[in-house]
């Protein structure tokens, strides 16, 4: 499942794919995001990383690992399933729920949401609703590996691995070794 973004669009999965980020690019991007999060929030003890399943969780864990190395203590990442908060539930069959795991009380904390692709912004809107019912964070920030534009809501990312201008007919696929065979970001469809 590509838990990246939500609006239904044309299926171009048979078109040739081109790789825009390879494993080294992804690694560098995550390292940079890690440092940006630490710089922005100086005292990282207040930060709670919450990935949005599936690949957002993998990315959050990778960032947590990097943060642990830099800070010299164990920092864990949680998972926030937003399925029940989606605004497009009735457009598709009922989906299986992903696991939600909040490592810590989020009241008064800085929550950094982590997702793989930021597109329409609807997933993040759902995540903000879900967070709202779990507690009252001091602030919520957003880290994404790819920002491909085409926002449908007034939402922007605080930390971006790569801005990737795309057309609507294109499809961005993030592969991560935790759930896929390799680390890569591919674009399918459109003008290859």
């Amino acid at each position: 499942m590509v838990a990246s973004d939500d609006a239904p669009r044309a299926d171009n999965s048979h078109a040739p794919a081109r790789t825009v980020l390879d494993d080294k690019d992804i690694s560098r991007a995550l390292t940079r995001i890690t440092h940006e999060i630490l710089e922005r929030n100086r005292d990282a003890s207040d930060v709670v990383l919450l990935g949005i399943p599936t690949r957002g969780v993998h990315l959050a864990r990778r960032i947590a690992k990097r943060m642990s190395e830099v800070e010299g203590r164990i920092i864990t990442a949680g998972a926030l399933d937003i399925t029940m908060y989606r605004d497009d539930l009735r457009l598709k069959p009922a989906r299986a729920l992903e696991h939600t795991e909040i490592p810590d009380d989020i009241d008064g904390k800085i929550v950094v949401l982590v997702d793989d692709v930021l597109f329409s912004g609807r997933t993040i809107r759902a995540a903000l609703d879900a967070l709202n019912e779990l507690g009252r964070p001091k602030a919520v920030q957003l880290a994404v590996l790819i920002d491909r534009g085409h926002r449908e809501l007034p939402i922007r990312a605080d930390f971006v691995g790569k801005n990737l201008p795309t057309s609507l007919v294109e499809k961005v696929k993030v592969a991560l070794t935790e759930s896929d065979e390799r680390d890569a970001v591919d674009i399918q469809g459109g003008a290859a």
């Binding site: 499942m1 029940m84 539930l89 598709k92 069959p93 009922a94 299986a96 729920l97 019912e133 779990l134």
Partner: protein, 317 residues
């Protein structure tokens, strides 16, 4: 999901059943959150259509629907036009006109939910909340859920169900669901309380409770109604509880990890002694808690998506 109604535990294949249990597992955490409500079924209407009194089942479904933000209408046969002789058909047409997205039906006649679903009197999803002496699929799901939390995956587990199998919708649904989940089910009852043709069921049967205890991972005691005694199904309550009741000596013969279950309401002193009912290995109260999560899962999976869908698409986003 491969089903649009939940009429029988037999409607569920293994994938569906596990999906419901997994979903319920995620939803169980909701009960410990400050806000026990999800917006998922906002604008959907769930009707609890109860032709037979069952406060506990109705409350469980009501809580489940409300925690998913559905609008809930309780329609009880008592004090409604049904008791004045309105037919199931007319009641269903009324509910259809009211825009019911799901009808949770409890009925004293076996098969009434099937009639409701198959006669096309309503377009809503029909959920069987217990019909006559037929089935009670959400009870079986919450039982399986409770067992899974204590025993792990149910594949290969030995479950012993004791009592009035003939008249028990809980036993029927459990036998079907537990078989789907790969458990070994043993039904224990006096021969008069086992239905004709039970040899075709995917279960073992026994007339002897004592011989079925040592290997049991879970023992489920069924309610036995006193009035069965008058119809000569067994000679006396005392003889029944001596031969088929779960008391402390029998409890002590169970394996250490085994749990004791009862779908409720209990006849303390009849099929189960008070000591056993309140014993630390009894999970009877937990069954009630789990009931809400399981019913939320069923409502979500039936109503949470687009109507009439059957599979989950992957990678289309």
């Amino acid at each position: 999901m491969t089903f649009t109604h939940l009429l029988s535990a037999g409607d569920l294949d293994r994938t569906d059943a596990i999906r419901i249990l997994d979903t319920a597992e995620e939803l169980l955490g909701l009960a410990s959150r400050p806000i026990k409500k999800l917006p998922t079924l906002r604008g959907r209407t769930v009707v609890n259509l109860f032709f037979e009194d069952s406060t506990r089942t109705r409350i469980s479904f009501e809580a489940a629907a409300k925690r998913l933000s559905a609008d809930v209408i309780n329609f009880s046969a008592k004090g409604s036009s049904v008791s004045k002789g309105e037919s199931l058909k007319d009641t269903a047409l009324t509910l259809q006109a009211m825009g019911a997205d799901a009808v949770v039906i409890r009925h004293q006649h076996s098969g009434a939910p099937h009639r409701l679903a198959n006669a096309k009197w309503t377009n809503g999803a029909v959920i069987n909340a217990g019909d006559g002496t037929h089935e009670h699929p959400t009870q079986a799901l919450l039982d399986a859920f409770t067992m899974r939390r204590h025993l792990g995956e149910l594949e290969g587990k030995n479950i012993t169900i004791v009592g009035d199998v003939l008249h028990s919708r809980v036993a029927r649904s459990n036998a079907l669901l537990l078989d789907t989940l790969g458990a070994n089910v043993t039904l224990v009852a006096p021969p008069t309380l086992l239905p004709v043709g039970i040899e075709k069921w995917p279960v073992e049967t026994s007339y002897d409770l004592d011989s079925s205890l040592e290997k049991a991972d879970a023992v489920m005691m069924l309610r036995v109604q006193q009035e069965r005694m008058n119809a000569a199904f067994f000679p006396s309550a005392r003889e029944y509880s001596r031969r088929y009741g779960l008391d402390t000596p029998r409890l002590n013969r169970l394996p250490d990890h085994a749990i004791v279950m009862h779908p409720g309401p209990m006849n303390r002193g009849m099929e189960i002694t008070a000591d056993v009912a309140d014993h630390v290995r009894s999970v009877i109260v937990e069954q009630v808690t789990n009931g809400v999560a399981v019913r939320m899962a069923v409502l979500y999976l039936l109503l949470g998506g687009a109507a009439g869908d059957s599979t989950t698409e992957e990678g289309t986003e």
